[in-house]
């Protein structure tokens, strides 16, 4: 296997605490050497001058749409978008067609990923058959097939008794149960955050208590059962408080927040652009600030994109009819790097929230950059400005609220298993 030398950059590794200017030499798929004076000889070189060199990003929440909705995205295109955004590992949700509720689907996804996806794909299996919240899935068999976590994301297990048993059973396989925490009876037909914006727009509101009430239930069920609860896309101040309190009590609860819930408020919806429609919805300023603080203080473990591709014709409909969700993989880094620019987090903390922390909560041997570990590396320039055009991106879909905007912070190179799979100047290189 080819040798790769990343030179001229500044290495940040949250696990080892390494924070220094250094070259990184990759050999045989592993990190062979890190130092200021690496003798590489003939090898592929990546110029990282002015860049940070970090472990490859890990996304615990994507929708790759394959099988079944390949017109939105497939495992290959989603993988290309991932490495273009610096993600070397992506966990994909189970709400495909068919649902990933059977080992054969899990195996299919991994098979497709091995064939033509430049990123490592980690399937998340459904917690209940068909995401219907009625019959639990064969968790042991799914884990044997390669599932890394369980989730009915997109749907919510509203039946508290069922949720309790799913959490209890998940202890058998020692995998996290990821919840899309929204009480659907309170969401009702709500499509935007309930508040001044919903009132001014005349659109049905989705109150923040729809999230926090569900989180309150689930952290108590996690406490009762001793299971690992992971709260997806936290969006409210109240949910943050509940998670903080539960963690302080020693409940095994982890949490993620999306780039959009860290950066955009519901004011972004004022023009009725369906690319600002998400579930949970964009919230108010206090909620956004609470999420930013929670990521900084460790209440929320990691950034997760909730990359949710939808075709243009699906989004170009009445706001109430449009499916929720936006692309996330290719814009995550510049959007979240704002937390460093505005001094909410240090570069090391933010890198941890993209690498070591998400890897830890999924129990992955990833998210670190040290001699002897498999070489999954992201090189990015936090200062570089670039104009984001989804039509020129790698996802099949274009649903992004940042379309046409100039973003600051750009992924320069991504290395998966020791191979350079993406370079900003050359595009996606493999497979």
């Amino acid at each position: 296997m080819a040798r790769v030398l990343i030179h001229g950059g500044h290495v940040l590794d949250p696990r080892s605490g390494r924070d220094e200017r250094a070259c990184v030499l990759l050999e045989n798929g592993q990190v062979a050497e890190i130092g200021s004076d690496v003798q590489a000889g003939s090898c592929e070189r990546v110029d990282a001058t002015g860049c940070l060199v970090t472990p490859g990003f890990v996304d615990v929440h994507t929708h790759l749409r394959e099988p079944g909705q390949e017109y939105k995205e497939d495992i290959a295109s989603g993988g290309r978008a991932a490495v273009a955004g610096g993600f070397t590992h992506i966990a994909c949700m189970a709400n495909t067609e068919p649902v990933n509720d059977d080992p054969s689907v899990t195996e299919y996804i991994l098979d497709r990923a091995r064939q033509d996806c430049p990123a490592r794909v980690l399937p998340i299996a459904a917690a209940t058959k068909g995401l219907r919240g009625e019959v639990m899935t064969e968790m042991s068999a799914l884990v044997d097939a390669g599932a890394v976590a369980f989730s009915d994301d997109g749907k919510t297990i509203m039946d508290g008794g069922m949720q309790r048993r799913v959490l209890e059973y998940s202890r058998l396989v020692e995998k996290p149960l990821i919840v899309h925490a929204e009480d659907l009876t309170l969401v009702g037909d709500g499509v935007v955050n309930e508040g001044s914006v919903s009132t001014r727009l005349g659109l049905p509101g989705n109150p923040s208590v729809a999230e926090s009430i569900h989180v309150a239930r689930d952290v108590q069920l996690a406490e009762l059962t001793g299971a690992h609860l992971h709260v997806a896309h936290v969006s409210t101040e109240a949910a943050v408080s509940l998670i903080r309190e539960a963690r302080a009590r020693g409940v095994h609860v982890t949490a993620e927040v999306t780039p959009h819930h860290l950066s955009l408020t519901d004011e972004a919806t004022m023009g009725y652009d369906s690319n600002t429609k998400m579930a949970p919805p964009l919230r108010g300023r206090r909620d956004v600030d609470a999420c930013r603080e929670a990521l900084a203080d460790g209440t929320i473990d990691c950034v997760a994109t909730d990359h949710a591709p939808h075709a243009v014709h699906e989004k170009e409909v009445e706001f109430t009819e449009a499916p929720p969700g936006i692309l996330g993989l290719e814009t995550a880094l510049p959007v979240v790097w704002d937390l460093v620019r505005s001094e909410v987090m240090t570069p090391m903390q933010l890198v941890a929230s993209l690498t070591a922390n998400p890897a830890a909560l999924l129990g992955l041997d990833a998210g670190r950059l040290d001699v002897g570990v498999p070489a999954y590396i992201t090189v990015f320039d936090p200062e570089q400005r670039w104009k984001y055009d989804p039509a020129k991106g790698f996802s099949k879909s274009r649903n992004s609220p940042w379309a046409g905007e100039t973003l600051q912070g750009r992924v320069v190179a991504t290395i998966v298993g020791g191979s350079l799979v993406y370079h900003a100047d050359r595009g996606v290189l493999a497979p």
Binding site: E194, S196, S198, T199, R200, L201, V317, F319, T320
Partner: protein, 309 residues
């Protein structure tokens, strides 16, 4: 000067609103003639694009266009078939390719006229979108009040009913407050939208307090099928507490006027005898609706380089 579309009263300045009202004054004069027609928009095409059926509003726009000699075409696709086959934007672009001079849009979902306006070259006039706005309704209400009271500035206006789901309420709140009136809203708490003070109004649970000293009272139509049980217990309880009758009206000023955007649920939001004649001005509202829509069409569809005229 107004923008190229009329989508929301929230977007208008006081001067914009006054321009429409002033223009409507001239249009009222046309309506009083024997031959109620002027050649102002001759050769211009106006499309009434009504995704949600509304005979009254559509007829009013149609008469307004015809009195200005425009060619008015009604297009009422059923929203259910659209959902499956054709996007609203495709429909709008198709119509735009026929070079209309204005498109009047009504839709059950908030924001659709705005999205259509973003795509279209022709001016778009919002004829009501979901629970968002119904700007021409507010303009005709302003004209009616101005006629009766001689002013808007300094008046107290009380709007009663389902504020949460009402586009009429939102447009009127913006319109009356922009022209200097104090607007109050009164309804059961289930029908007051979140953070209602962001609209610049005060909400009342007591109708008596809301009516105290009011110059204008506007009752909104209650959608009984949708709301009963979920938003208020029964029609009987609603009409008992928030239905307007002569006894409750005594809390308002002696010369109060009563308005309603129609159609009235008699005996529910408005007592039967209040719907007809004084102090009700409901038919004046309807009459002024034509003048307001003529004014809006004149101001928006009448704009074109003179060489093309």
């Amino acid at each position: 000067m107004m923008g190229t579309d009329l989508l929301a009263i929230e977007d208008l300045s006081r001067e914009d609103i006054e321009l429409v009202l002033e223009t409507a004054g001239h249009m009222q004069e046309v309506g009083r003639r024997d031959v109620k027609k002027v050649p102002t928009l001759r050769g211009r095409t106006i499309i009434n694009l009504f995704f949600e059926s509304s005979t009254r509003t559509r007829t009013s726009f149609e008469i307004a266009g015809k009195r200005l000699s425009a060619d008015v075409v009604n297009f009422s696709p059923s929203s259910s078939s659209l959902k499956k086959s054709e996007s609203i934007l495709d429909t709008a672009k198709t119509l735009d390719a026929m070079d209309p001079d204005a498109v009047v849009v009504r839709h059950a979902v908030a924001g659709v006229p705005k999205r259509i306006a973003d795509e279209l070259a022709a001016p778009v006039i919002n004829a009501g979108d979901g629970a968002h706005e119904h700007p021409t309704q507010a303009l005709l209400d302003l004209l009616t009040v101005k006629e009766r009271k001689g002013r808007i500035d300094g008046l107290t206006v009380t709007i009663i009913g389902d504020i949460a789901h009402s586009r009429v309420a939102r447009s009127n709140i913006y319109g009356f407050t922009k022209l200097g009136a104090e607007v109050r809203v009164a309804a059961p708490p289930t029908m007051i939208p979140a953070n209602v003070d962001c609209l610049g109004v005060k909400a009342f649970g007591s109708l008596r307090e809301a009516l105290d000293g009011a110059d204008v009272v506007m009752a909104l139509r209650i959608q009984m099928e949708r709301l009963t049980g979920a938003y208020f217990p029964s029609v009987r309880e609603y009409s008992g507490t928030f239905g307007l009758d002569r006894a409750k009206l005594r809390f308002a000023k002696d010369d109060v006027i009563v308005m309603h955007p129609g159609p009235v649920n008699r005996g529910v939001e408005l007592a039967h005898d209040l719907a007809d004649g004084r102090p009700s001005v409901i038919l004046d509202q309807v009459r002024n609706g034509v003048a307001i829509r003529m004014a809006v069409l004149y101001l928006l569809a009448g704009r074109r380089p003179e060489s093309e005229a």
